[in-house]
Symmetry: C2
Subunit: 644 residues, 2 copies
């Protein structure tokens, strides 16, 4: 038996009935809504209550009635960590009383008896009111209780002043509450980041094994282009036993360096550095040097072991041994990774294993000031492990960010985001034409995924030399970077192969020929070209325009040309607005009339506004619903800043 009368249901946003948190970054707003119902005709009121995990008191924002029993409101998150929020509702007897009086008066009824009824509501408000309000309420109570001046009493009874006092001090008998939900709050980089990836061992010259000191010399190159996150593939000792030869061959020759994802050797495991790269001090200096240039170094968190990883002897139980005494290699039949042993998460010793894996992450955070991890293949380890690892790390360091490299099935990719990854690699790498891009971005930004999955768009990675780039000219490279950088607020490239358009592939595969995964590459790091120039300009635009620093506020703009993708993005308060047009045709000029989102922009159709191409600096005066766009493959995109 329960005497509450208000029902609150369908609270939004929420993930799987609150099983998982929604995600925001600091200073963002959480817009909430719910059905708030009551039996009968009484007036309901509702609020959202919210508090930071470390706060004692709930804060409250009132909700607004949107009609048809739907209520909505919002709250802003500020501190990192997690917020709890819930919606509450109540019958507001005072407002109800006032509403009843008004309707009866409109019907010509006498309300003397109703005025007396109202005294209890006045007394309730009186108990909470401030000085001015108190004296007003006291006079009103006297007025209602004696017959002296009925007209004056009625006037006050129906006044907006009294309404406001009642609204301010609700009685909230039988307060009903929704379940409580969680919102995790990360720092801004979780939403907005620009990644550059290179292999430290290729940072040197003449095919010699690069060092952290070589990397340090490349920091200005990375900084000048406008990247803020520098991701290194594993920097740990590489296994010697069974290491891969060039181009993923199973037999390594004497000087073959092996895959850096084959972690662990006699030199140590996941808490050691490759001896050729340099010392711990060198690495620390590189990290701090990068930091001083506004770049965070991101490490690879790759949970597997080479056959000569120290764990294989020390923690036999962490691997799966077969009846014939061999240990099982990582495999995805018929694929076989002969150089790595998968970790056996189902081991009876799993609790010690998980603690050790947590210890590794905390080691790099606490000793080296690493706050961003790119996680290798998280989809082949249990979801519960990631939930444990990320939450334990963030309990101590709530500014750490994990990017999931899970090129896998959609629901598995989503689940990893649900259990805590701040960022996710996506299918963008394979979404090329207008229909594919529109459909995919709509899925990411207009569905529930927007609440928990923060995409990171990569045109290429060391594992993926996509068909589009293999066969693509400079215009395709420009398109792909411009699309990634304006559609998603987090992006990354695997360079310098991207900006130097090195795209030779193993025949029939989306794999780079002579991949750096298995050998040291030799780049001309002094090269500057049109791509590096335009990447720099695009990154500058991302830096300057808040509309490009989030992914979800996106609206595609209709045009009749299948080769022309056009869209509008805006910051939360519309102070920054961007219109982007990309020519998807790498060979021919494309043009179309583009439908402007005047309603969303709140621009009258007769009003002229200026759009400024932030790449070329040219400005155009636009007006009305349709404006003309023409793009040549030589510079296949516009990034227009809307200026009022």
């Amino acid at each position: 038996m329960n005497q509450e009368r208000v029902v609150i249901e369908n609270v939004q946003p929420q993930i799987n009935a609150g099983r998982h948190p929604i995600k925001r970054i600091s200073q963002e707003t959480v817009h909430v809504s719910a059905n708030v119902l009551v039996d009968g005709h009484d007036i309901v009121q509702a609020s959202v209550m919210y508090k930071h995990e470390k706060a004692r008191k709930w804060q409250e924002n009132r909700l607004l009635d949107q009609g048809n029993d739907l209520w909505s409101g919002s709250f802003q998150v500020e501190k990192l960590g997690s917020y709890e929020y819930k919606l509450v509702g109540w019958v507001d007897y005072a407002l109800n009383w006032q509403h009843g009086i008004s309707r009866k008066l409109a019907d010509g009824q006498h309300v003397k008896s109703e005025l007396l009824d109202g005294v209890i509501h006045l007394e309730h408000a009186f108990a909470k009111a401030n000085k001015t309000e108190s004296s007003y309420l006291k006079k009103t109570i006297e007025l209602f209780q004696n017959d002296a001046d009925y007209d004056a009493a009625v006037q006050i009874a129906t006044s907006s002043e009294l309404h406001d006092i009642f609204y301010k001090y609700p009685a909230r008998l039988f307060l009903a509450s929704s379940d409580s939900y969680t919102c995790t709050v990360d720092r801004k980089k979780a939403r907005f980041s620009t990644w550059y990836e290179f292999f430290p061992r290729s940072a040197g010259s003449n095919y010699e094994h690069g060092t952290f000191k070589d990397c340090e010399k490349l920091l200005p190159y990375v900084q000048e282009m406008g990247f803020d996150t520098l991701y290194f593939p594993p920097v740990h000792p590489v296994g010697d036993v069974n290491r891969k030869g060039k181009n993923n061959t199973t037999t390594a020759h004497g000087d073959d360096v092996g895959s850096c994802w084959g972690i662990g050797s006699k030199h140590g495991g996941h808490m050691a550095l490759h001896p050729h790269l340099g010392s711990e001090e060198d690495f620390k200096e590189l990290i701090q040097q990068a930091k001083s240039l506004g770049i965070e170094v991101s490490m690879d968190y790759a949970l597997q072991a080479a056959p000569d990883h120290p764990w294989v002897k020390k923690h036999k139980a962490w691997f799966r041994w077969r009846p014939d005494g061999t240990v099982q290699y990582a495999e995805n039949p018929p694929k076989k990774y002969q150089d790595i042993l998968p970790i056996y998460f189902e081991t009876p010793d799993w609790k010690n294993l998980w603690k050790e894996l947590l210890k590794i992450a905390l080691y790099w955070v606490e000793e080296f000031d690493i706050k961003v991890f790119r996680v290798d293949n998280p989809h082949t380890k249990p979801f519960h492990f990631w939930e444990y690892l990320i939450s334990e790390v963030k309990k101590k360091h709530n500014d750490v960010i994990f990017l999931a490299e899970a090129f896998t099935k959609p629901k598995v990719m989503q689940q990893l985001a649900k259990v805590g990854f701040q960022q996710s690699y996506t299918y963008f790498t394979w979404r090329n034409n207008k229909h594919e891009l529109t459909e995919y971005l709509t899925e990411l930004t207009q569905n529930q995924e927007r609440e928990y999955m923060q995409p990171n768009f990569w045109p290429n990675t060391p594992d993926i030399n996509p068909w589009a780039l293999q066969s693509g000219n400079e215009s395709v490279h420009l398109q792909r970077y411009a699309l990634a950088a304006t559609l998603s607020s987090s992006i990354g490239i695997y360079g310098p192969v991207f900006e130097q358009m090195i795209s030779s592939a193993l025949p029939g595969k989306e794999e780079y020929l002579d991949s750096e995964k298995f050998q040291i590459a030799n780049y001309d790091w002094s090269l500057r070209n049109k791509l590096t120039l335009l990447i720099t300009k695009i990154n500058q635009a991302r830096h300057d325009l808040p509309a490009l620093q989030q992914t979800n506020n996106l609206q595609f703009l209709h045009n009749d040309n299948d080769q022309l993708l056009t869209y509008y993005k805006w910051s939360d308060n519309h102070q920054s607005e961007v219109i982007v047009a990309v020519n998807l045709d790498p060979h021919y000029e494309q043009e179309s009339w583009v439908a402007m989102p005047l309603e969303r922009m709140q621009i009258d159709e007769h009003h002229t506004y200026t759009v400024k191409d932030v790449i070329t600096g040219s400005s155009y005066n636009w007006k009305g619903t349709h404006n003309f766009v023409k793009l040549n493959p030589v510079l296949p995109f516009h990034i227009f800043e809307v200026q009022r």
Copy 2:
């Protein structure tokens, strides 16, 4: 820390994360689905587990993989009461092993070591297998363990026989389970019922107060038309104080009988019968006489009291008294019901109040064998009260059915269904044109509402003399009954005003003139007309055709005529199929080509099939995608039985 690897989410069907049960009737099937995920590439299996509330053991049906990590299956409910169901999932190591072997063999690899790996799976199955299987498994284990016959071992390892044994005896390490959900199971009448309503006090003649004995004489009339549920407005003593005069006037004259919803007088309250209607024995005899004719009597459960109801003195706290000593009348400002006092559900004595209200319901169930209640205005009483009342009644009598008369906002109507009402009045009464009907039925049958809300379509009620019928001719009445009776499996009419087309209204209102709510009516109960004939035929069709005994399996059929509504209905196993066409134009003949649902019917487009109009008896041979339908307002509908 949690070592489970499988994640189960988005279980369907479920209402508000399991807060409310879904509904089925006995023998129906519950189709379930969920996302079932695992990290990596291992093979997952899943089942639905279900059990009746009184059973100890779970029953299990396996689910099927529908692709993209979606799994589905079903179970059948049989007993009344409630079932629990949940979905479970596990990594199937044995099937996984077998799958791996096959892929490695296909890749040309040697699998000697893998055969040894498999012994553990064989041993597990051996421990559970039957005699034949055991001997097969024992031989296989020997074969795998020695090198004698590799080819034979490989053949068995990849055989479907071994697959079937593994499938039959899964090991289920780290079994993951979804939350558990509830399904309430009612008897068939909850889904399929045909109601007739008349006022017992009008069952006599010459405006004299009718009696239960008069009602008994009308049972054959009701039965012959094919109704199975006879609903009486309240049969309790009517309050004398403040009772309403004719046509809802506030001053009653000496012989005015008042509204029968103004319950309670010196003759008693909700557990008494109106003295003019007859004795308890008369009522019991009427109920049993009806039962013998296949008709259940339904009572009105109307929670309010006339000013002279015994409660007003005995339980003062159950009403809301104002500071001036008066008690508040039921009101929906500026409307006022001067003859009834609302019950004060917020009273501090609420627990005793609720118990008394439960006692009333149980009294009529247990003493009079009433198993169907029509509940008056449930939307003006707390949702939690209904949840309490219905669940308490059904704990003792799980065959009782409650129909909610809640003409209110959509979400409030839905909430009442969620908290337990088996049936709901709907907006059908005001849905007339093709667009309105299509949209409304789509909402009811294609959305989540289908899982918990069982609509009952009424073309009219004593409270609603709809515009359509006020101004409508015979064809409109035929249309409205045919639509209700073929779109919804539960329907009702307020007769005999409906079949005699008595539709005079209070000017400008959807209220009957000289409404029986406030006075005794005088009907010619011997009248038989085209309407009674066709109601009889339609009800017979509903009785004969299972496709018309449910509401949810509905597909609208496209035709180009806005005045012609066409749809297909089918029973769960397609053994009964019906195509209905209704001419919505009461004045002119309408025709169109109608698109057949050949794919759903699983009929080849070159195949001829017969449709038989069950009203006229005429048969037609149809073929292909489009067939022609023409309807005259004189008989504005076809109900075609599809015959193969």
